[in-house]
């Protein structure tokens, strides 16, 4: 179902901290229920252009969870404040309004083999990139797709969303400082899993920093395992208007990540680099 044409104001229903990140919710009275992997372009209605004139453009933010609300759809977002835009979104107070354009972009695809005995889905998230995997995990659970979740965080201050978004399910953790789970990278956990004998028919779904995604892409390519990567690139519009979000294709030329992605099959991207 298409996004409503244009932007609309949605009310903030809550905002709380979560492991160094923030989780806030909007009430969307008009939009359809988003699919896992889709994103919205968001801008606070008030005080968006702050001192110094930024942020000016809206910011692309993945939907982390969704559910029915009294009059519409509840949209949950996981935010890491890294600059003026995400900083302002972190401060949103209940009752405030946010300009919303979306849901935009494509969604993660289901694995072809979904039987109980199949290798199923392996979700690999790092840092703020765990956001779209929360909704994906729930959807797979509802469809009886076997799911294993591997999440990596730098340290306790960068481990948001665990209690809120992944409370219900088994999660294998890695942390660079060793505060939780395996000390090291989440890709260490993935490498071990992919050498297991059932790995061939698995599909890996991943979102996180560029270096992690590149490691996931390379590991999956080496093991002949399909993967879907949710990438990031600088976005001005989110709906194909600006051509700013270019991501190189392996055969040359560029994708427009906002309309051709943000989820791209691992074999459809050249090396994942930080844009």
């Amino acid at each position: 179902m298409s996004a409503p044409f244009g932007r609309r104001l949605c009310e903030v229903s809550e905002n709380h901290s979560s492991g160094g990140y923030r989780v806030f919710s909007l009430l969307d009275r008009e939009g359809p229920t988003p699919l896992p992997g889709q994103f919205y372009m968001l801008a606070a209605e008030d005080h968006w252009e702050q001192l110094g004139g930024r942020p000016f453009l809206p910011r692309a933010i993945s939907v982390a969870e969704t559910g029915p609300a009294a009059a519409g759809v509840r949209l949950d977002f996981l935010i890491e404040g890294i600059g003026p835009g995400t900083g302002r979104l972190c401060e949103l107070a209940p009752g405030e309004s946010v300009w919303v354009n979306g849901p935009l972009g494509n969604a993660f695809r289901e694995p072809r083999e979904v039987s109980a005995g199949a290798a199923g889905a392996i979700l690999v998230g790092g840092g703020i990139g765990v956001a779209p995997l929360a909704l994906l995990r729930r959807r797979f659970g509802e469809r009886n797709v076997p799911v294993r979740v591997l999440l990596g965080f730098r340290d306790a201050e960068h481990s948001g969303g665990l209690d809120d978004l992944f409370a219900c399910c088994e999660v294998r953790l890695a942390s660079e400082d060793g505060h939780a789970g395996h000390q090291g990278y989440v890709t260490d956990l993935l490498a071990a899993m992919l050498t297991g004998d059932d790995a061939g028919s698995a599909v890996v779904y991943s979102c996180g920093p560029a270096a992690m995604l590149e490691a996931v892409r390379a590991l999956c390519a080496a093991h002949g395992v399909a993967c879907e990567l949710a990438l990031e690139s600088p976005m001005a519009c989110g709906y194909g208007a600006c051509f700013g979000c270019a991501v190189p294709k392996p055969e040359g030329g560029y994708l427009r990540l906002c309309v051709d992605g943000p989820v791209i099959a691992g074999d459809r991207v050249a090396e994942v680099t930080h844009a």
Binding site: S2, A3, P4, F5, G6, R7, A43, E49, G52, G53, R54, P55, F56, L57, P58, W99, N101, L104, S233, P234, A236, C237, Y239, G240, A241, C242, F243, G244, A246, V247, P248, G252, G253, Y254, R256, V259, A275
Partner: protein, 298 residues
């Protein structure tokens, strides 16, 4: 109902070239786009004779009240545009203006002839912010180059030729006068202002191309002054643009001499900005002003 070069339009707000992809927007928003099309005419992204992939990322950088872009004119080339894009653009409920650019007069002529030949096309915008490979000069920065280009293109079509002026010159009015003497039907301005930014952490250029063009509200006062001087110097209608985000902004451009206005960067923030600006403009016109208090009552 504004009338522009013989084309009648539902309102005076069109899009700026390269800032709205109607084909992509229709895929995203469905036919709601057509039912409520934000612009009274649609200007295509600039097309070139051969396909172009565009520049390597990073292509955009936000600035205070604006952005710098170095997109690099990605497009399917003339053949791809005519075969794949034009039939889809013909389904839009508004007249179509095609923006073209080439690096020599013969190539420019080939584009204009091929595009003007298609009945779906109402007018042609000439993006002259490009070098002439033969002289090495940027066509739109040299009045003589601009006049010579128009003299070469004018005999090829009776359809309106709009010259998109670059703001990166000391005297844009001199280029506009040259376009008029060469036989142009209208001018549009401003294109983006040459600009650069650096990542303060890495101290590297923010954009892969090193520099780009500034757009958005940051350029609005510059655009207004250039429009004012151009409008005073020529007898042709002008399409004014540069940071328009509201009806009040558009009213300023009309006051400065614009026949039509174009919305660019604001569409990134608000996909229906064109409709909003047109509606707001209604209430800021001298005749419409009387209507506004009634709206404010409750």
């Amino acid at each position: 109902m504004p009338e522009f070069c013989g084309i009648s339009l539902a309102h005076p707000v069109i899009n700026a070239s390269g800032t709205f992809d109607a084909i992509a927007a229709r895929r995203v928003y469905g036919d709601a786009l057509l039912a409520d099309f934000p612009f009274s005419a649609f200007v295509s992204k600039t097309i070139t004779p051969e396909p172009r992939a565009g520049n390597a990322p990073r292509r955009i950088w936000e600035t205070p009240a604006g952005m710098i872009n170095s997109i690099g004119l990605p497009n399917k080339g003339l053949e791809g545009f005519l075969a794949e894009d034009l039939p889809q653009l013909a389904e839009l409920p508004v007249p179509l203006i095609v923006s073209v650019m080439a690096t020599g007069r013969p190539e420019f002529a080939r584009l204009v002839e091929a595009v003007a030949d298609r009945e779906e096309v109402a007018a042609i915008e000439l993006n002259v912010s490009c070098p002439n490979v033969h002289s090495g000069l940027i066509v739109g920065e040299a009045p003589a180059e601009t006049e010579a280009l128009l003299e070469a293109l004018r005999p090829l079509t009776a359809k309106p030729l709009i010259v998109k002026l670059t703001p990166n010159v000391a005297d844009p009015a001199a280029v506009a006068v040259a376009a008029e003497s060469g036989g142009a039907d209208a001018v549009s301005l401003i294109n983006t202002l040459k600009a650069s930014a650096f990542d303060p952490l890495s101290r590297e250029p923010a954009l892969a191309a090193g520099h780009g063009g500034l757009s958005g509200p940051a350029v609005r006062p510059v655009a207004l002054q250039q429009l004012r001087s151009v409008a005073a110097a020529i007898g042709l209608p002008a399409i004014g643009m540069g940071g328009i985000g509201s009806g009040a902004d558009a009213a300023e451009f009309i006051a400065a001499g614009a026949a039509l206005v174009a919305v660019g960067t604001e569409s990134f923030r608000d996909p229906r900005a064109g409709s909003r600006v047109a509606a707001e403009l209604d209430f800021t016109s001298p005749q419409g002003a009387a209507v506004q208090p009634a709206l404010d009552l409750d």
